[in-house]
Every structure is written in C-alpha cells, then in structure tokens.
C-alpha cells in the first residue's frame, strides 16, 4: 500500500479538477484585472492600476503552471511581478504629487481612441475566427530548466544574444543619463 502512494504528487491536483475550469477561472481573473488596469470605476489612482496589473501577471503565471511550464511561470513571477511591476509602483509612488492629477481629454482624443480601439478589436477578432480548432499537441514540450537552457544556447542563440545586446544598450543609456553633467555647472 505504501509503495503506491509515492506515485502521487501535487500535479495530480489538476487531474481531478477539470483543467478547463481552472483555465476559465484564471482567464477570467486576468481579464477582470486587465480591465481594472485601464478602467477602474472605483479609483483613478495609478497605484491601483499597477496592483491590478500585478494580479493579471500572476493569473498569467497560473496559466503557465496549467500548461506544465513551471520554469516559465516562476520566471514570469520573478521578472514581471517581482522586478518590473515593483519598479513601476515605485516610480508611481515617487511621483506622489501628480497623483491627484485628473485625466482630462479632448473630443478629438476620444474619437482617435475609439477608432484605434475598434481597429484593434477587429484585428483580434479576425485572428480569433481564423484560428483552426485546437489540435492535440504533437510533441510534448519539456519545460524544465535544462531543456530551456539548451534551447537558448543552441536553436535560439541569435535572438537570445540580440536581446542581451538590447538590454546592454538600456544599461549604457541609464549610466549615461545618471552621470553628473561635467560640462555645465557641477551638481
């Protein structure tokens, strides 16, 4: 009896919960908080938007877990929730004086915004309707750390390096901007 128990681990939780149910809960949360990021009816505070974006990011990480892509889920939380969003919120909090700013808009802006939003909706809907029905996955993708690492240094080496050059450019830019201005008056 005891031997058979070892075959069970936490992944089995998904085998009894219908996967679709978990998916719809996570997708619903992602969409709900996604709406709250841009159109929160209760508050226009940028901090609320930032924290709603955090909830969206966490829901998306949950979907990665559902797809057994644990590495991707962990990295999503570490990079987006743990680093990028916290910096967003940090900057929003430092610009505290501007927080009482009321977002005003002109009619032309509303018109342009409506057109752009409708165009984007049409584009997305056209893609959704063109999509073939979901087919079973041909080969299982290995989401473990060694598998992803191997892919990054073999098949996707060039894009990987290109991204790192891009990040380097950003770092150099920050160093340049934060350097005290030596030509003019000293700080």
């Amino acid at each position: 009896m005891w031997e058979t128990l070892t075959n069970y681990n936490w992944e089995n939780l998904f085998s009894i919960l219908p996967g679709a149910l978990v998916f719809y809960v996570l997708a619903g949360l992602a969409i709900l908080f996604g709406i709250l990021v841009v159109a929160n009816p209760f508050s226009r505070s940028p901090i609320n938007s930032g924290l709603s974006l955090l909830a969206t990011v966490l829901s998306l990480a949950g979907m990665s877990v559902l797809l057994h892509a644990y590495f991707l889920a962990a990295v999503q939380v570490i990079v987006y929730a743990g680093a990028v969003l916290i910096l967003f919120i940090f900057v929003l909090m430092l610009s505290r004086k501007e927080m009482k700013m009321v977002f005003t808009s002109t009619r032309i802006r509303y018109a342009v915004g409506t057109v752009v939003a409708l165009a984007l909706a049409c584009l997305l809907l056209s893609i959704v309707f063109q999509m073939p029905a979901a087919a079973p996955v041909k080969e299982a993708v290995d989401g473990t750390v060694p598998a992803i690492g191997r892919l990054l240094v073999t098949e996707y080496l060039v894009p990987f390096e290109a991204i790192s050059v891009l990040l380097l450019a950003a770092i150099v830019g920050v160093v340049h901007l934060s350097k005290p201005n030596t030509k003019g008056e000293s700080k």
Partner: protein, 369 residues
C-alpha cells in the same frame, strides 16, 4: 473478532483511491509545517529577547512561565485583546492588505523545502517542484509588496519613506541573492531542492558551504537584507523614521508584521540549511541517505526532521546574534554594499564556477578519466 475488524479496516484503507491518500497526506504535511513554523516564530521572538538581554547584560522576559517560556502566549493574548484601531486618512483596503501580503509569502516558501527525507514512502516535502528554488525566489520577491503597501497605505510621510527604503533595499538584494546561488545550481545540476540535498549527502565535503563558500556568505547577507534585519533594518530605523511603517499599525496587524519578519528569518535559515548545510542529512551512517520504508526507517525519518530543525535553529540563532552585534548601515552604505560590492562579487563567483566546471569536464575528456 478484533483481528477480523482490523483486517476489514485494512481492506477498507486499501480501496481508498490514491488521490485521497495523497490529499490527506499533503494536508497533514501542510498543517504540521505551518504549525511548526508559527511555533518557531513565537519562540524565536523569545529567543531574540533573551539573547539580546544577555548580550546587553540584563535578564529579559523571565517572569511568565519557566525561563519566560510562556511569554509568546502573553504577547499573543495582548495583541488579540488590544483595540484594532485604524488611523484616520489611511487607504483602508491597502491598510488591511499589507500585513497579509507580507505574511503569506513568508509562509508560502514552506511548500518546497524538504524538511526531512521521507517517512514510510512519503517524501517530507509538500511540493517537490523541479524549479523549487526558482519558486522560492518568486515567492520571496512577492513579499516586497507587503512593505510597499504598508508604507503607501499609511498615507503619512515617515512610514512612506520607510517603505520606500525597504523596498529599494529588497529589490537591490534580491538580485544578489538570485545570483549568489547560481553556482549551487551548476554544482548540483538541478534547481530541485531535493536534488540539491541528494548532491550534498554523498560526503561532508559536498556541503554547499564548503563547495561554494562565497555563495554561502553572499546568500547569508542577502537573507539578512531580505528579511529587513539589522544591519539592514531601514524600514524601522527608529532614530530617523520613528519606527517606519510600524507607527500606523497596532494590535494584531502589528503582530502580523512582527511575525512575518521572524517567519522570513526562519524560512531564510531553512533555505540556507537546504542549500549549504546538507539539509536533513549528516555525514554519518544511516543519516546520509533517505530513510528506508521500514519501522527503523520511520524512526530515522523522524531523526532527519530533527536534524533539519536543529540546523535551522542554529542559523536562526546566528541571525539573532548578528542583530545585536552590528550597528545599522546608513542607506547609501547599504546601496553601495549591495550594488558595487556584492553584485560584482556574485557575478565573478558565477564565472569562476563556470570556468572551473568547464575545466574539470575538459580535463576528464582529455585524459579520458
């Protein structure tokens, strides 16, 4: 009669679907682990107060119970019975959310830590993830939101500055923490915490602290910074910030902040023990391999849990000790240490181990060892 009943009971046990067994064992493990963590939190507070007293040549709380052992109960009752006030002008939702947002990540780390080898055939870890260590970093990186929210929710300048400082510090040291343990990934060849312990059980020289001492040092310092402890307790620098975010919180909400700090100290110690001190193993016969599935094995399984707890307690003691021995760093010194000393050292450490492992592999290939 009793024998028959016993047999029919065993038959009934056997026909329970495996899933329910798994669920029952997991719930028991979660309950036991959280209960143990909170118990350790309560007694770490007493330990801290007593150790602080001895270092400062006074007695500390010694009135409630023998050696002050009932002190946590008194503190708990006091925190629960106090008036749960909410200062005027706070952002109410965030004010409620912040203590929980700090406490929950501290407890979630528990899920992937192997606190023993196995008892019977049950592995003593709640979720044996293949990205276990990355999971802990993901969870730890979430705890900064608790401090940020606490500073923001108070809507007052001192807590706000305290929160900003603490979050800047946590973000800075998170990077170093992540980089410092990459040599352990490379040496153990896995990010799974059980695999990392299995790699360390082979001999005493395989303990992470001997194989990668600089990683251990950097990780320890980063752990102090992540749990906001002296010499890095910027959020509660009382001379400058009048207690930081603690000013606005009272009763049980304050107690939650307090407990979250100790929970993160304990979880940091537990991760340190897992990565660098061989986890539940000791380099002795019986104790350096997972326990067998037998009656003796079950006993050894419990001894493994005891070893893990003893090692964790030693680390907690070390962290408490450090707090009462070192002065607080100034904020610019803190940032300087994090970004200009520890971060480059961690990067050099990674390159060193990468070159070393590559060199060993090449050596073996050339000489066909």
């Amino acid at each position: 009669m009793i024998g028959e009943l016993l047999y029919s009971f065993l038959d009934w046990l056997k026909q329970i679907p495996h899933f329910w067994w798994w669920l029952a064992f997991t719930l028991v493990k979660i309950g036991a682990a959280i209960g143990l963590l909170l118990g350790m939190v309560a007694y770490t507070v007493v330990l801290e107060r007593r150790v602080a007293s001895f270092i400062q040549d006074r007695l500390g709380p010694n009135r409630s119970g023998p050696w002050g052992l009932l002190q946590p109960a008194c503190d708990g009752i006091k925190a629960f019975l106090k008036e749960d006030f909410i200062p005027g002008g706070v952002h109410r939702f965030f004010y409620w959310l912040a203590p929980a947002a700090l406490m929950v990540p501290a407890m979630m780390t528990l899920a992937v830590i192997p606190f023993g080898s196995n008892i019977g055939a049950q592995p003593m870890v709640i979720a044996d993830l293949n990205v276990g260590l990355l999971y802990t970093f993901a969870v730890v990186s979430m705890s900064v939101y608790g401090i940020v929210l606490a500073g923001y929710a108070a809507n007052s300048k001192y807590p706000f500055i305290g929160g900003m400082r603490a979050s800047a510090q946590m973000i800075s040291y998170e990077g170093t923490m992540g980089l410092s343990i990459i040599p352990i990934f490379m040496l153990a060849g896995s990010a799974n915490l059980s695999a990392i312990i299995a790699w360390q059980t082979t001999s005493p020289f395989h303990w992470g602290i001997i194989q990668a001492p600089i990683s251990a040092l950097l990780f320890f310092i980063a752990t102090l910074a992540e749990s906001n402890r002296t010499p890095f307790d910027m959020a509660e620098a009382e001379q400058e910030l009048a207690g930081g975010y603690n000013v606005e919180y009272g009763a049980m909400k304050f107690a939650l902040f307090f407990m979250a700090e100790y929970a993160s100290v304990i979880m940091g110690s537990a991760i340190f023990v897992t990565l660098f001190l061989g986890g539940w193993s000791l380099p002795l016969p019986w104790l350096n391999a997972p326990a067998a599935d037998s009656w003796l094995g079950i006993l050894i399984g419990f001894i493994h849990i005891g070893i893990f707890l003893a090692k964790t307690a030693c680390m907690v003691f070390l962290i408490v000790w450090v707090r009462w021995m070192l002065p607080r760093l100034r904020f610019d010194q803190l940032m300087d240490l994090g970004w200009r000393k520890m971060m480059p050292l961690a990067l050099c450490n990674i390159v060193f181990y990468a070159v070393l492992l590559w060199g060993i592999a090449m050596f073996r290939k050339v000489f066909e060892l």
